[in-house]
Symmetry: C2
Subunit: 234 residues, 2 copies
Protein backbone atom coordinates (compact mmCIF):
# COMPACT_ATOMS: atom_id res chain seq x y z
CA UNK A 1 0.00 0.00 0.00
CA UNK A 2 1.33 3.42 -0.96
CA UNK A 3 1.91 6.22 1.52
CA UNK A 4 -0.64 8.20 -0.48
CA UNK A 5 -3.42 5.61 -0.36
CA UNK A 6 -5.69 7.65 1.91
CA UNK A 7 -5.83 10.54 -0.54
CA UNK A 8 -8.52 11.44 -3.04
CA UNK A 9 -7.74 11.19 -6.76
CA UNK A 10 -9.60 13.54 -9.06
CA UNK A 11 -10.08 14.47 -12.69
CA UNK A 12 -7.80 17.09 -14.18
CA UNK A 13 -8.78 19.00 -17.31
CA UNK A 14 -7.21 21.65 -19.51
CA UNK A 15 -9.29 24.47 -21.01
CA UNK A 16 -7.91 26.86 -23.63
CA UNK A 17 -8.95 30.47 -24.07
CA UNK A 18 -7.97 31.05 -27.70
CA UNK A 19 -7.85 34.68 -28.78
CA UNK A 20 -7.61 35.53 -32.45
CA UNK A 21 -7.31 38.70 -34.54
CA UNK A 22 -8.65 38.89 -38.09
CA UNK A 23 -7.09 42.25 -38.95
CA UNK A 24 -10.08 44.14 -37.57
CA UNK A 25 -11.51 42.45 -34.50
CA UNK A 26 -10.51 40.38 -31.48
CA UNK A 27 -12.26 37.04 -31.44
CA UNK A 28 -12.58 34.00 -29.22
CA UNK A 29 -12.62 30.42 -30.50
CA UNK A 30 -15.45 28.31 -29.06
CA UNK A 31 -16.80 24.81 -29.61
CA UNK A 32 -20.12 23.12 -28.99
CA UNK A 33 -19.97 20.70 -26.08
CA UNK A 34 -20.72 17.16 -27.16
CA UNK A 35 -21.51 15.64 -23.74
CA UNK A 36 -24.42 15.91 -21.34
CA UNK A 37 -25.15 18.02 -19.37
CA UNK A 38 -25.04 21.32 -21.25
CA UNK A 39 -24.87 19.41 -24.54
CA UNK A 40 -24.73 21.71 -27.57
CA UNK A 41 -23.90 24.72 -25.40
CA UNK A 42 -20.84 26.84 -26.24
CA UNK A 43 -17.69 25.96 -24.42
CA UNK A 44 -13.98 26.71 -24.37
CA UNK A 45 -11.81 24.20 -26.17
CA UNK A 46 -10.71 21.60 -23.65
CA UNK A 47 -10.10 18.02 -22.62
CA UNK A 48 -8.81 15.77 -19.88
CA UNK A 49 -5.18 15.34 -18.91
CA UNK A 50 -3.95 11.92 -20.05
CA UNK A 51 -1.48 9.51 -18.52
CA UNK A 52 2.02 10.31 -19.61
CA UNK A 53 1.52 13.92 -20.64
CA UNK A 54 2.15 17.19 -18.83
CA UNK A 55 -0.43 19.97 -18.71
CA UNK A 56 1.53 21.84 -21.41
CA UNK A 57 1.47 18.69 -23.57
CA UNK A 58 -2.27 18.40 -23.07
CA UNK A 59 -2.90 22.03 -23.99
CA UNK A 60 -0.83 21.69 -27.16
CA UNK A 61 -2.50 18.38 -28.07
CA UNK A 62 -5.97 19.88 -27.67
CA UNK A 63 -5.12 22.96 -29.70
CA UNK A 64 -3.37 20.94 -32.38
CA UNK A 65 -6.29 18.57 -32.70
CA UNK A 66 -8.68 21.46 -33.23
CA UNK A 67 -6.59 23.75 -35.42
CA UNK A 68 -3.79 21.68 -36.89
CA UNK A 69 -1.42 24.25 -35.39
CA UNK A 70 1.81 23.78 -33.54
CA UNK A 71 4.15 26.24 -31.86
CA UNK A 72 1.49 28.80 -31.01
CA UNK A 73 1.94 31.38 -28.29
CA UNK A 74 0.46 29.73 -25.23
CA UNK A 75 0.67 30.44 -21.55
CA UNK A 76 -0.63 28.71 -18.44
CA UNK A 77 -3.16 31.00 -16.83
CA UNK A 78 -4.51 29.51 -13.60
CA UNK A 79 -6.08 26.42 -12.07
CA UNK A 80 -9.82 26.62 -11.42
CA UNK A 81 -10.97 24.40 -8.60
CA UNK A 82 -14.43 25.32 -7.33
CA UNK A 83 -15.76 22.04 -5.95
CA UNK A 84 -18.93 21.95 -8.04
CA UNK A 85 -17.64 23.67 -11.18
CA UNK A 86 -18.38 20.52 -13.19
CA UNK A 87 -21.75 19.04 -12.19
CA UNK A 88 -20.88 15.49 -13.30
CA UNK A 89 -17.82 14.91 -11.18
CA UNK A 90 -15.26 16.99 -9.41
CA UNK A 91 -12.75 18.23 -11.98
CA UNK A 92 -9.97 20.76 -11.49
CA UNK A 93 -9.23 22.61 -14.70
CA UNK A 94 -6.00 24.34 -15.63
CA UNK A 95 -6.71 27.18 -18.05
CA UNK A 96 -4.30 28.19 -20.83
CA UNK A 97 -4.53 31.13 -23.13
CA UNK A 98 -3.35 31.14 -26.72
CA UNK A 99 -2.96 33.85 -29.36
CA UNK A 100 -3.61 33.22 -33.05
CA UNK A 101 -3.45 35.23 -36.27
CA UNK A 102 -6.81 34.13 -37.67
CA UNK A 103 -6.07 34.82 -41.33
CA UNK A 104 -3.25 32.28 -41.28
CA UNK A 105 -5.26 29.39 -39.99
CA UNK A 106 -8.88 30.02 -40.85
CA UNK A 107 -9.15 27.12 -43.25
CA UNK A 108 -7.80 24.48 -40.93
CA UNK A 109 -10.13 25.49 -38.14
CA UNK A 110 -13.24 25.59 -40.27
CA UNK A 111 -12.56 21.97 -41.24
CA UNK A 112 -13.52 20.91 -37.72
CA UNK A 113 -17.24 21.37 -37.88
CA UNK A 114 -18.16 22.58 -34.44
CA UNK A 115 -15.54 25.29 -33.83
CA UNK A 116 -16.42 28.92 -34.42
CA UNK A 117 -14.87 32.36 -33.91
CA UNK A 118 -16.96 34.85 -31.92
CA UNK A 119 -16.43 38.56 -31.46
CA UNK A 120 -15.08 38.84 -27.92
CA UNK A 121 -17.64 41.55 -27.25
CA UNK A 122 -20.52 39.38 -28.50
CA UNK A 123 -19.72 35.89 -27.28
CA UNK A 124 -22.53 33.66 -26.03
CA UNK A 125 -22.81 32.56 -22.39
CA UNK A 126 -20.44 29.63 -21.83
CA UNK A 127 -20.81 26.44 -19.80
CA UNK A 128 -19.55 25.87 -16.25
CA UNK A 129 -17.03 28.55 -15.15
CA UNK A 130 -15.80 29.20 -18.69
CA UNK A 131 -17.05 32.79 -18.62
CA UNK A 132 -14.96 33.40 -15.51
CA UNK A 133 -11.94 31.78 -17.19
CA UNK A 134 -12.42 34.01 -20.22
CA UNK A 135 -12.60 37.15 -18.07
CA UNK A 136 -9.49 36.07 -16.22
CA UNK A 137 -7.66 35.43 -19.51
CA UNK A 138 -8.72 38.79 -20.91
CA UNK A 139 -7.41 40.48 -17.78
CA UNK A 140 -4.11 38.63 -18.10
CA UNK A 141 -3.93 39.46 -21.82
CA UNK A 142 -4.42 43.16 -21.04
CA UNK A 143 -1.87 43.00 -18.24
CA UNK A 144 0.79 41.31 -20.32
CA UNK A 145 0.08 43.31 -23.47
CA UNK A 146 0.46 46.60 -21.62
CA UNK A 147 4.00 45.64 -20.64
CA UNK A 148 5.30 43.22 -23.25
CA UNK A 149 4.96 42.96 -27.03
CA UNK A 150 2.89 39.76 -26.96
CA UNK A 151 0.02 41.01 -29.12
CA UNK A 152 2.28 40.85 -32.16
CA UNK A 153 1.65 37.10 -32.08
CA UNK A 154 -1.80 37.96 -33.36
CA UNK A 155 -0.66 39.93 -36.40
CA UNK A 156 0.02 38.68 -39.92
CA UNK A 157 3.61 38.74 -41.24
CA UNK A 158 3.12 42.23 -42.67
CA UNK A 159 0.74 44.68 -41.11
CA UNK A 160 -0.06 48.39 -41.01
CA UNK A 161 0.03 50.74 -38.04
CA UNK A 162 -3.74 51.33 -38.21
CA UNK A 163 -4.16 47.54 -37.97
CA UNK A 164 -1.90 47.43 -34.93
CA UNK A 165 -3.83 50.21 -33.25
CA UNK A 166 -7.07 48.42 -34.10
CA UNK A 167 -5.72 45.32 -32.36
CA UNK A 168 -4.79 47.21 -29.19
CA UNK A 169 -8.11 49.02 -29.19
CA UNK A 170 -9.90 45.69 -29.49
CA UNK A 171 -8.01 44.15 -26.59
CA UNK A 172 -8.58 47.16 -24.31
CA UNK A 173 -12.04 47.92 -25.67
CA UNK A 174 -11.18 51.61 -25.94
CA UNK A 175 -9.87 54.26 -28.35
CA UNK A 176 -6.24 55.39 -28.13
CA UNK A 177 -4.96 58.77 -29.25
CA UNK A 178 -3.50 57.98 -32.67
CA UNK A 179 -0.41 60.17 -32.52
CA UNK A 180 0.67 59.19 -28.98
CA UNK A 181 0.03 55.55 -29.58
CA UNK A 182 2.00 55.46 -32.84
CA UNK A 183 4.90 57.30 -31.20
CA UNK A 184 4.95 54.84 -28.30
CA UNK A 185 4.90 51.85 -30.63
CA UNK A 186 7.61 53.26 -32.86
CA UNK A 187 9.82 54.02 -29.86
CA UNK A 188 10.02 50.26 -29.20
CA UNK A 189 12.09 49.98 -32.44
CA UNK A 190 10.48 46.62 -33.04
CA UNK A 191 9.26 47.41 -36.57
CA UNK A 192 10.82 47.38 -40.01
CA UNK A 193 9.12 49.52 -42.66
CA UNK A 194 8.46 47.75 -45.95
CA UNK A 195 8.05 49.13 -49.47
CA UNK A 196 4.44 48.27 -50.16
CA UNK A 197 1.32 50.09 -48.98
CA UNK A 198 -2.10 48.84 -48.00
CA UNK A 199 -4.61 50.95 -49.94
CA UNK A 200 -7.74 49.06 -48.94
CA UNK A 201 -8.64 51.36 -46.03
CA UNK A 202 -7.69 54.79 -47.34
CA UNK A 203 -6.73 56.51 -50.59
CA UNK A 204 -3.39 57.62 -49.20
CA UNK A 205 -2.67 54.10 -48.00
CA UNK A 206 -0.72 52.85 -44.99
CA UNK A 207 2.79 51.43 -45.16
CA UNK A 208 3.25 47.80 -44.32
CA UNK A 209 5.61 46.93 -41.51
CA UNK A 210 7.11 43.70 -40.32
CA UNK A 211 8.43 42.70 -36.94
CA UNK A 212 12.16 42.77 -36.26
CA UNK A 213 12.21 39.21 -34.97
CA UNK A 214 15.61 39.43 -33.32
CA UNK A 215 14.69 42.53 -31.32
CA UNK A 216 11.28 41.05 -30.60
CA UNK A 217 12.83 38.02 -28.92
CA UNK A 218 15.14 40.20 -26.85
CA UNK A 219 12.38 42.58 -25.79
CA UNK A 220 9.83 39.90 -24.85
CA UNK A 221 10.80 40.27 -21.19
CA UNK A 222 11.31 44.04 -21.16
CA UNK A 223 8.78 46.39 -19.66
CA UNK A 224 7.78 48.50 -22.63
CA UNK A 225 4.72 50.11 -21.00
CA UNK A 226 2.86 50.27 -24.26
CA UNK A 227 -0.48 51.28 -22.80
CA UNK A 228 -0.87 54.46 -20.74
CA UNK A 229 -2.60 53.93 -17.35
CA UNK A 230 -2.99 50.25 -18.15
CA UNK A 231 -4.28 49.50 -14.65
CA UNK A 232 -7.59 51.14 -15.38
CA UNK A 233 -8.32 48.37 -17.88
CA UNK A 234 -7.59 45.50 -15.52
Amino acid sequence: MSQYSGQQRILLAVDCIIFGFDGKNIKLLLVKRKLKPEEDKWSLVGGFLKTGETLDDAAHRILHHLTGLEGLYMEQLQAFSEVKRDPIERTVSVAYFALIDISKYELKISDRASAQWFLLSKKPRLIFDHDEMTLCARKQLRYKASLHPILFELLPEKFTIPQLQCLYEGVYDTIFDKRNFTRKLMSTELFIKMNGKDKSSSKKGAYYYKLDKRKYRIKQESFLNLVPKAEKFL
Copy 2:
Protein backbone atom coordinates in the same frame (compact mmCIF):
# COMPACT_ATOMS: atom_id res chain seq x y z
CA MET B 1 -21.75 4.97 -15.71
CA SER B 2 -20.57 8.57 -15.99
CA GLN B 3 -19.54 10.22 -19.28
CA TYR B 4 -16.13 10.67 -17.71
CA SER B 5 -15.58 7.04 -16.72
CA GLY B 6 -12.80 6.40 -19.23
CA GLN B 7 -10.62 9.18 -17.79
CA GLN B 8 -7.70 8.92 -15.42
CA ARG B 9 -8.03 10.37 -11.90
CA ILE B 10 -4.86 11.64 -10.27
CA LEU B 11 -3.54 13.12 -7.05
CA LEU B 12 -3.52 16.88 -6.70
CA ALA B 13 -1.24 18.64 -4.22
CA VAL B 14 -0.58 22.20 -3.14
CA ASP B 15 2.96 23.42 -2.37
CA CYS B 16 3.64 26.80 -0.79
CA ILE B 17 6.73 28.90 -1.37
CA ILE B 18 6.73 31.05 1.78
CA PHE B 19 9.01 34.08 1.66
CA GLY B 20 9.76 35.97 4.87
CA PHE B 21 11.70 39.10 5.82
CA ASP B 22 13.25 39.51 9.25
CA GLY B 23 14.22 43.17 8.87
CA LYS B 24 17.54 42.28 7.29
CA ASN B 25 17.29 39.21 5.07
CA ILE B 26 14.90 37.39 2.76
CA LYS B 27 14.18 33.89 3.94
CA LEU B 28 12.31 30.80 2.82
CA LEU B 29 10.26 28.58 5.14
CA LEU B 30 11.00 24.86 4.73
CA VAL B 31 9.95 21.67 6.50
CA LYS B 32 11.41 18.20 6.78
CA ARG B 33 9.48 15.65 4.78
CA LYS B 34 7.97 12.95 6.96
CA LEU B 35 7.27 10.32 4.28
CA LYS B 36 9.45 7.98 2.26
CA PRO B 37 11.10 8.42 -0.18
CA GLU B 38 13.27 11.46 0.57
CA GLU B 39 12.31 11.20 4.25
CA ASP B 40 13.97 13.89 6.40
CA LYS B 41 14.96 15.91 3.33
CA TRP B 42 13.98 19.58 3.14
CA SER B 43 10.78 20.35 1.33
CA LEU B 44 8.35 23.16 0.64
CA VAL B 45 5.32 23.24 2.87
CA GLY B 46 2.57 21.27 1.16
CA GLY B 47 -0.22 18.75 1.24
CA PHE B 48 -2.93 17.07 -0.81
CA LEU B 49 -6.13 18.71 -1.99
CA LYS B 50 -9.06 17.35 0.01
CA THR B 51 -12.64 16.66 -0.99
CA GLY B 52 -14.76 19.73 -0.57
CA GLU B 53 -12.03 22.36 -0.67
CA THR B 54 -10.69 24.56 -3.47
CA LEU B 55 -6.97 24.94 -4.14
CA ASP B 56 -7.05 28.33 -2.39
CA ASP B 57 -8.72 26.68 0.62
CA ALA B 58 -6.03 23.99 0.68
CA ALA B 59 -3.19 26.53 0.48
CA HIS B 60 -4.67 28.54 3.36
CA ARG B 61 -5.32 25.40 5.42
CA ILE B 62 -1.74 24.21 4.97
CA LEU B 63 -0.28 27.60 5.84
CA HIS B 64 -2.60 28.05 8.80
CA HIS B 65 -1.75 24.62 10.16
CA LEU B 66 1.95 25.41 10.05
CA THR B 67 1.98 29.03 11.15
CA GLY B 68 -1.31 29.73 12.89
CA LEU B 69 -1.75 32.57 10.41
CA GLU B 70 -4.76 33.67 8.43
CA GLY B 71 -5.24 36.38 5.83
CA LEU B 72 -1.66 36.31 4.54
CA TYR B 73 -0.71 37.61 1.13
CA MET B 74 -0.91 34.56 -1.08
CA GLU B 75 -1.04 34.05 -4.81
CA GLN B 76 -1.44 31.04 -7.08
CA LEU B 77 1.76 30.63 -9.03
CA GLN B 78 1.53 27.73 -11.45
CA ALA B 79 0.67 24.05 -11.77
CA PHE B 80 3.64 21.68 -12.05
CA SER B 81 2.84 18.49 -13.90
CA GLU B 82 5.95 16.61 -14.99
CA VAL B 83 4.81 13.01 -15.13
CA LYS B 84 7.44 11.62 -12.78
CA ARG B 85 7.85 14.61 -10.48
CA ASP B 86 6.70 12.51 -7.52
CA PRO B 87 8.31 9.04 -7.65
CA ILE B 88 5.56 7.37 -5.60
CA GLU B 89 2.59 8.18 -7.75
CA ARG B 90 1.70 10.74 -10.36
CA THR B 91 0.77 13.97 -8.59
CA VAL B 92 0.12 17.36 -10.14
CA SER B 93 1.05 20.15 -7.76
CA VAL B 94 -0.28 23.69 -7.78
CA ALA B 95 2.30 26.05 -6.28
CA TYR B 96 1.35 29.13 -4.24
CA PHE B 97 3.60 31.83 -2.95
CA ALA B 98 3.10 33.67 0.31
CA LEU B 99 4.75 36.70 1.90
CA ILE B 100 5.27 36.97 5.67
CA ASP B 101 6.74 39.53 8.06
CA ILE B 102 8.82 37.09 10.11
CA SER B 103 9.06 39.18 13.27
CA LYS B 104 5.30 39.08 13.67
CA TYR B 105 4.93 35.34 13.58
CA GLU B 106 8.22 33.83 14.62
CA LEU B 107 6.89 32.30 17.79
CA LYS B 108 3.94 30.53 16.27
CA ILE B 109 6.07 28.94 13.59
CA SER B 110 8.78 27.73 15.93
CA ASP B 111 6.12 25.82 17.87
CA ARG B 112 5.85 23.39 14.96
CA ALA B 113 9.02 21.47 15.40
CA SER B 114 10.13 20.71 11.87
CA ALA B 115 9.71 24.10 10.18
CA GLN B 116 12.71 26.36 9.72
CA TRP B 117 13.58 29.64 8.01
CA PHE B 118 16.54 29.54 5.60
CA LEU B 119 18.38 32.41 3.97
CA LEU B 120 17.12 32.35 0.39
CA SER B 121 20.72 32.51 -0.79
CA LYS B 122 21.73 29.54 1.38
CA LYS B 123 18.82 27.14 1.20
CA PRO B 124 19.49 23.41 1.02
CA ARG B 125 18.63 21.32 -2.05
CA LEU B 126 14.92 20.50 -1.95
CA ILE B 127 13.02 17.33 -2.84
CA PHE B 128 11.29 16.61 -6.16
CA ASP B 129 10.86 19.75 -8.30
CA HIS B 130 10.69 22.10 -5.30
CA ASP B 131 13.88 23.90 -6.34
CA GLU B 132 12.28 24.65 -9.69
CA MET B 133 9.12 25.87 -7.94
CA THR B 134 11.19 28.13 -5.71
CA LEU B 135 13.05 29.62 -8.69
CA CYS B 136 9.75 30.19 -10.45
CA ALA B 137 8.30 31.88 -7.34
CA ARG B 138 11.37 34.08 -6.94
CA LYS B 139 11.05 35.14 -10.56
CA GLN B 140 7.36 35.95 -10.05
CA LEU B 141 8.13 37.81 -6.82
CA ARG B 142 10.72 39.93 -8.65
CA TYR B 143 8.35 40.53 -11.53
CA LYS B 144 5.45 41.61 -9.33
CA ALA B 145 7.61 43.58 -6.89
CA SER B 146 9.14 45.63 -9.70
CA LEU B 147 5.68 46.81 -10.73
CA HIS B 148 3.46 46.67 -7.65
CA PRO B 149 3.98 47.45 -3.97
CA ILE B 150 3.60 43.83 -2.83
CA LEU B 151 6.84 43.63 -0.84
CA PHE B 152 5.31 45.86 1.82
CA GLU B 153 3.48 42.73 2.97
CA LEU B 154 6.85 41.61 4.31
CA LEU B 155 7.49 44.70 6.43
CA PRO B 156 6.57 45.29 10.07
CA GLU B 157 3.98 47.97 10.89
CA LYS B 158 6.68 50.63 11.22
CA PHE B 159 9.88 50.44 9.26
CA THR B 160 12.77 52.60 8.10
CA ILE B 161 13.83 53.43 4.56
CA PRO B 162 17.16 51.56 4.96
CA GLN B 163 15.11 48.49 5.96
CA LEU B 164 12.95 48.87 2.88
CA GLN B 165 15.99 49.17 0.64
CA CYS B 166 17.49 46.13 2.36
CA LEU B 167 14.33 44.19 1.53
CA TYR B 168 14.42 45.15 -2.15
CA GLU B 169 18.13 44.39 -2.35
CA GLY B 170 17.49 40.98 -0.81
CA VAL B 171 14.75 40.15 -3.29
CA TYR B 172 16.81 41.26 -6.31
CA ASP B 173 20.12 40.09 -4.89
CA THR B 174 21.75 43.36 -5.86
CA ILE B 175 22.66 46.84 -4.55
CA PHE B 176 20.51 49.83 -5.52
CA ASP B 177 21.74 53.41 -5.65
CA LYS B 178 20.48 54.81 -2.34
CA ARG B 179 19.43 58.27 -3.51
CA ASN B 180 17.61 57.13 -6.67
CA PHE B 181 15.91 54.29 -4.91
CA THR B 182 14.67 56.45 -2.03
CA ARG B 183 13.39 59.07 -4.46
CA LYS B 184 11.51 56.43 -6.45
CA LEU B 185 9.94 54.96 -3.32
CA MET B 186 8.93 58.35 -1.96
CA SER B 187 7.38 59.33 -5.27
CA THR B 188 4.82 56.54 -4.75
CA GLU B 189 3.40 58.61 -1.86
CA LEU B 190 2.63 55.39 -0.06
CA PHE B 191 4.46 56.27 3.17
CA ILE B 192 3.60 58.30 6.25
CA LYS B 193 6.55 59.60 8.27
CA MET B 194 6.32 58.95 12.00
CA ASN B 195 7.86 60.78 14.95
CA GLY B 196 10.23 58.13 16.28
CA LYS B 197 13.63 57.14 14.95
CA ASP B 198 15.43 53.83 14.81
CA LYS B 199 18.91 54.40 16.26
CA SER B 200 20.07 50.79 16.23
CA SER B 201 21.86 50.98 12.88
CA SER B 202 23.38 54.47 12.93
CA LYS B 203 24.05 57.30 15.37
CA LYS B 204 21.99 59.74 13.35
CA GLY B 205 19.13 57.26 13.22
CA ALA B 206 16.50 56.63 10.54
CA TYR B 207 12.91 57.82 10.74
CA TYR B 208 10.20 55.25 11.04
CA TYR B 209 7.53 55.21 8.39
CA LYS B 210 4.23 53.44 8.10
CA LEU B 211 2.22 52.48 5.08
CA ASP B 212 -0.71 54.64 3.98
CA LYS B 213 -3.11 51.71 3.86
CA ARG B 214 -5.79 53.47 1.86
CA LYS B 215 -3.37 54.52 -0.88
CA TYR B 216 -1.73 51.11 -0.72
CA ARG B 217 -4.99 49.37 -1.54
CA ILE B 218 -5.65 51.73 -4.44
CA LYS B 219 -2.14 51.38 -5.86
CA GLN B 220 -1.94 47.58 -5.63
CA GLU B 221 -2.87 47.33 -9.29
CA SER B 222 -0.93 50.34 -10.54
CA PHE B 223 2.33 50.00 -12.42
CA LEU B 224 4.74 51.83 -10.17
CA ASN B 225 7.95 50.61 -11.85
CA LEU B 226 9.86 50.59 -8.61
CA VAL B 227 12.91 48.79 -9.93
CA PRO B 228 14.95 50.21 -12.82
CA LYS B 229 15.60 47.71 -15.65
CA ALA B 230 13.71 45.06 -13.73
CA GLU B 231 13.86 42.64 -16.66
CA LYS B 232 17.52 41.99 -16.10
CA PHE B 233 16.66 40.32 -12.78
CA LEU B 234 14.04 37.98 -14.23
